[in-house]
Amino acid sequence: MYAFNFLLLSAALFSFGIYGVIARKNAVMVLMSIELILNSVNLNLVAFALMNNSIDGHVFALFVIAIAAAEVGVGLAMVLMIYRNRRSIALDELSEMKG
């Protein structure tokens, strides 16, 4: 039941993240929500690593953190780019292409 609490927390984080991605129109907020999701994964991984008593989870979490950093770097660059072009980072305005 020790790990269970972590899992619950992580699930909650995950859900918040999902909600943020779906509901937020601001690109930065969405980025942050995605970070939430990734962190819920990290939490999971670490918790499971403890539970399984293996190191794999930790290693995995490290990779995730590193990659998340890279992703956020790219993401912020993109947000900046659309801001420059459109003077807005509202996602629902980004619907030039559809159908």
Binding site: V21, R24, D92, L94, S95, K98
Partner: protein
């Protein structure tokens, strides 16, 4: 199904069955091949030749005729030398075949099956074709499709000859359909006129409807007998080697439907009069003497199938399909012949009527009579048509209207007239002409084999035949020349005569014109000639006196003379009245059934113990007979004679007493009609007579005049009683019925089918079937359209969709795996 071959069995047993042989018999297959080759020669080289290809046609027909004659001679010598003690001329047919097509267990042959019937038909067809071609070289001379005409004519002969010597049902169908094609081509020879092409189409369709029966019937034969070889079919049917009498009955019915169509039997006869749109030689060859008897020939060819299938001559049978159709046809057609003004139509209905005789003859078991009637009828009817053509060609400006363009020409055309009279006599059945011997045997057999109704039909038909032919003869040759004939005769033509006549006598006017609503075959043959010189250019004929020639040129008259001679002479090949049975003996082995000489009531002998239930009994007999037959065949001691439970009764012995009622009626018919014609037509044609004028103005005086002029007593009897009260309304009604109901049905079927086609196409095909196809396309596209909003372009919604699907999927999968 492997069946013991009857022929094989017969061959092994050997005795009493002769070998017919000789070069001509062995090579009789050349007879249709020669004209077939000629057809292609005409087609490819005809136009380049000085005589437009007719030389090929004529030469080919002569060649065929020579071989046919040779074959006939050799056949006769064979039969004569194999006349056995029992009184039968049993000669094995000469069958030679090559494999025409094979299909698994079946092999179908192409070749020849020569026996008495085939020999008769071959000779007949080759002979008449030759004459008609000769005649045609003059008759259609200058026609713009002269070459095509001869090509078609030659192909026709080839088809007919191929049919009559068919060893196999398939070859028979081949010939049968080629004839149909040629019929189509020749009826529609002058296709510029829509009426002609319509007549051609109608002929083809109507016959084709019947041909369904032929195709299906043939399939049924294959089902029943496992072979389509005619000799085997006949042998097996005669021997009762089949499983189901019922099936055989339906087979006979199906095949007979084809015969109804081809031979113009009621109710599919309506195409034949319309077919008179073709050139006259065509009418004389195809639509009177040869092609239309194909149906009769088919029945005769595989007579055992019909005889057994329809229980002909079974004890107590008083009617059967063939006899009934034949009987109805002969009466109806004779009545219709009575009201025609077109000479060719009179002859066409007469042909239908005579075909009815033949069918009736086959239906009552008078095989020999019927076949012999094919033979004799061909000569005299062909002769009549050619005579009509001769008149039209030479004297009547290519018109065939007896009332408008003929009359009084006997003096100027003695040869034509003579031929006509001889042939008419034969057609009526005047004693000692060919028609008498053949027709009388049919009528006599009907009585003798207790088909009483058909006996009456036969003699009434004889009366009617006599009557309408007398009328036609009168109108054509006697009286005052009218129209074109007057021109020809050099008599000043009273152009107002007919009009005057019509207005003065409404009844007669109605009689004359009112019944011919369709002018489809108001045919003037001169469509086919180049207008510029149709008349002026032909120095030989068509000019007014004093340049008009004495009768037609020799190419026309020679065939007439020959045919007229045969119209009398042919009868003596089989004249029971004179104890001549030669024709019968030559052909009787072709019946395919044994002839029961012992008892006149054929079949009764074997069926007597079983009482009167017909079909059931016969099938029982058939079943019972299978055993002994099979063993006999295996034992090898089997001979042709007692080969089964079925037999055809021998023709009745001729007595003048039996013939008398018919003859009396014929005489009566001639007399009544002659006087009636005089009364109806001649008197009114004669404006010089003050009495006639009087009668037209004043009834009482007219009546008095009638009584005074003694002979007119009969006229009035005829006119008032027979024509006005009986014959006229009946014939009128019959004609109305014919044109509106029967022909109406035929035409309506066509129209309805066409409409149905349109309806099905528009509603079913385009809306439903194709609609479904197109709808599925539209549905796909529309569903795409419906899905497009999902692709909204908004990232959040995409995300929602993504995770929504993931979540729902996960939940469902948990449930699924739970």
């Amino acid at each position: 199904m492997s069946q013991p071959s009857m022929l094989l069995a017969a061959e092994e047993s050997g005795h009493a069955i002769g070998e017919a042989s000789g070069w001509f018999l062995e090579n009789a297959w050349l007879i249709p091949v020669i004209p077939a080759v000629a057809f292609f020669l005409i087609l490819f080289f005809g136009k380049k030749l000085p005589r437009g290809g007719s030389e090929f046609g004529l030469a080919a027909m002569l060649g065929s005729l020579v071989i046919a004659a040779g074959a006939t001679w050799q056949w006769i010598s064979s039969t004569t030398s194999h006349y056995d003690e029992a009184g039968n001329y049993e000669v094995e047919p000469v069958i030679r075949e090559i494999v025409w097509w094979q299909s698994g267990p079946y092999e179908f042959g192409l070749g020849q099956h020569i026996d008495g019937l085939a020999i008769m038909a071959l000779l007949l067809v080759a002979f008449i074709s030759t004459l008609v071609q000769l005649y045609s070289t003059e008759y259609v001379n200058g026609d713009r499709r002269y070459t095509h005409y001869f090509a078609a004519l030659t192909l026709f002969s080839s088809g007919m000859l191929a049919m009559v010597l068919a060893p196999d049902m398939v070859q028979l169908i081949l010939g049968w359909e080629i004839m149909g094609l040629c019929s189509f081509m020749l009826i529609g020879h002058w296709w510029e006129e829509q009426a002609n092409s319509k007549a051609a189409l109608k002929a083809f369709f109507t016959v084709r409807v019947g041909d369904m029966g032929l195709l299906v019937g043939t399939a049924m034969l294959l089902a029943i007998f496992g072979t389509l070889q005619i000799s085997e079919i006949n042998a097996l049917a005669a021997a009762g080697e089949f499983d189901s009498q019922n099936m055989l009955m339906w087979t006979a019915v199906a095949l007979f439907i084809a015969c109804i169509g081809k031979s113009g039997q009621f109710p599919l006869h309506t195409w034949l009069p319309d077919a008179m749109a073709g050139p006259t030689p065509v009418s004389s060859l195809l639509h009177s003497s040869t092609m239309v008897v194909a149906g009769v020939f088919l029945v005769a060819r595989i007579y055992p199938v019909f005889h057994v299938g329809l229980d002909i001559n079974a004890a107590g049978q008083s009617v059967n399909l063939i006899a009934a159709i034949g009987g109805i046809t002969l009466l109806v057609a004779a009545a219709l012949a009575f009201v025609q003004n077109d000479i060719k139509k009179v002859l066409a209905y007469s042909t239908v009527s005579q075909l009815g005789y033949m069918m009736m003859g086959l239906g009552v078991g008078a095989w020999t009579g019927a076949v012999f009637h094919i033979f004799t009828h061909a000569f005299f009817k062909c002769c009549l048509f050619l005579a009509a053509g001769s008149i039209s060609h030479t004297a009547a400006h290519h018109s065939f209207d007896m009332k408008k363009d003929m009359g009084g020409i006997w003096k100027k055309m003695p040869v034509t007239f003579g031929a006509w009279m001889v042939s008419t006599a034969a057609l009526m059945g005047i004693p000692f002409t060919a028609g008498f011997f053949s027709k009388d045997e049919i009528i006599d057999s009907a009585k003798h084999f207790e088909y009483t109704w058909f006996y009456y039909a036969g003699i009434i038909g004889a009366f009617m035949t006599a009557a309408y032919m007398t009328r036609a003869t009168y109108l054509t040759f006697f009286g005052k020349p009218r129209g074109a004939a007057a021109h020809y005769m050099g008599v000043e033509h009273d152009t107002h005569g007919e009009v005057h006549e019509h207005s003065a006598h409404p009844d007669e006017a109605e009689h004359a014109d009112g019944h011919i609503p369709d002018h489809t075959v108001d045919a003037h043959d001169d469509h086919g000639h180049d207008d510029d010189h149709a008349h002026d250019g032909h120095a030989t004929h068509g000019r007014p006196l004093p340049f008009a020639p004495f009768d037609s040129p020799w190419k026309i008259t020679a065939p007439l003379i020959i045919l007229a001679a045969l119209a009398v002479g042919a009868g003596y090949l089989n004249a029971p009245a004179l104890k001549i049975y030669w024709f019968e003996h030559q052909t009787e082995s072709s019946i395919g059934l044994p002839i029961d000489h012992g008892d006149d009531h054929g079949g009764e002998e074997t069926e007597e113990p079983h009482g009167d239930e017909e079909a059931l009994v016969v099938s029982e007999v058939a079943a019972g007979a299978n055993g002994p037959f099979a063993s006999a065949a295996e034992g090898g001691d089997h001979s042709y004679e007692p080969s089964g439970p079925y037999a055809v009764p021998a023709p009745p012995v001729f007595t003048w007493a039996n013939a008398a009622p018919g003859l009396i009626l014929v005489a009566l018919g001639i007399l009544v009609s002659w006087f009636a014609s005089l009364a109806v037509f001649a008197r009114r044609k004669n404006p010089f007579s003050p009495f006639v004028g009087l009668t037209t103005r004043s009834r009482p005086i007219g009546a008095l005049h009638s009584f005074l002029v003694n002979k007119l007593y009969l006229d009035h009897l005829y006119e008032k009683v027979i024509v006005r009260a009986v014959a006229h309304p009946i014939a009128k009604a019959a004609y109305w019925f014919n044109q509106n109901v029967i022909d109406g049905i035929v035409n309506t079927v066509g129209t309805v089918t066409r409409r149905l086609g349109g309806w099905v196409y528009r509603n079913i095909d385009q809306r439903v079937v194709d609609g479904a196809v197109n709808a599925s396309g539209t549905a796909a596209s529309e569903s795409g359209h419906a899905l497009q909003p999902v692709q909204s372009g908004k990232v959040n919604q995409y995300g929602a969709l993504l995770f929504g699907a993931a979540g729902i999927g996960a939940i469902l999968l948990i449930i699924l795996n739970g």
